[in-house]
Symmetry: C2
Subunit: 115 residues, 2 copies
Amino acid sequence: MEKLGSDLFLMENEIPWERIDDKLSRQIVGYNNDIMMVKVKFKEGGIGPVHDHIHSQVTYVVSGAFEMFIDGETRIIRGGDSFYIPPHVSHGAVCIEEGMLIDVFSPHREDFLED
Amino acid sequence: MEKLGSDLFLMENEIPWERIDDKLSRQIVGYNNDIMMVKVKFKEGGIGPVHDHIHSQVTYVVSGAFEMFIDGETRIIRGGDSFYIPPHVSHGAVCIEEGMLIDVFSPHREDFLED
């Protein structure tokens, strides 16, 4: 497998935001083959559809409020909260107040680099 | 190796903060064997001494300002910025304005769970 590695310093204003849809955009920041950090901005009503993947995921809520579904349970999470998604576990989010999530995956999301 | 896994929902006000020293405290949030997220609060003047480890690391600056040293280069980083630390690469931080970092490691930090 190709050995990957992002820049070491990843300044907010030097990295482009990718549009995912009308209400979501993302900025891929630090990564190598084993880990990848992705900032995801949501506008109110933005949806991360329920899905699952082989990756382990941890996420920090920087701001906003989200109705978060994980493995059959739904809770409201806000700035300061976080969550953990084991491999293959279903999860999805609906943004109820504009905000941002910091998603981190292991291994990295190859699919995000193919775009 | 023991198979680890944190809770799925990790609410800010339900998890204890561990004191590291007078100026640093941390909250270990989501993790399994492959990944671990740790929130680290710094008061002004707080120091993360220069060190290195086998883990890949990605970090997001939630707030504050830090003089960040990575692999021979020092830059000032602020809320919204992030950085990537490859395995075995020296890094350290000095907090110049009170704030918080979100550190994420792969694999998880066994040493943090032994305390």
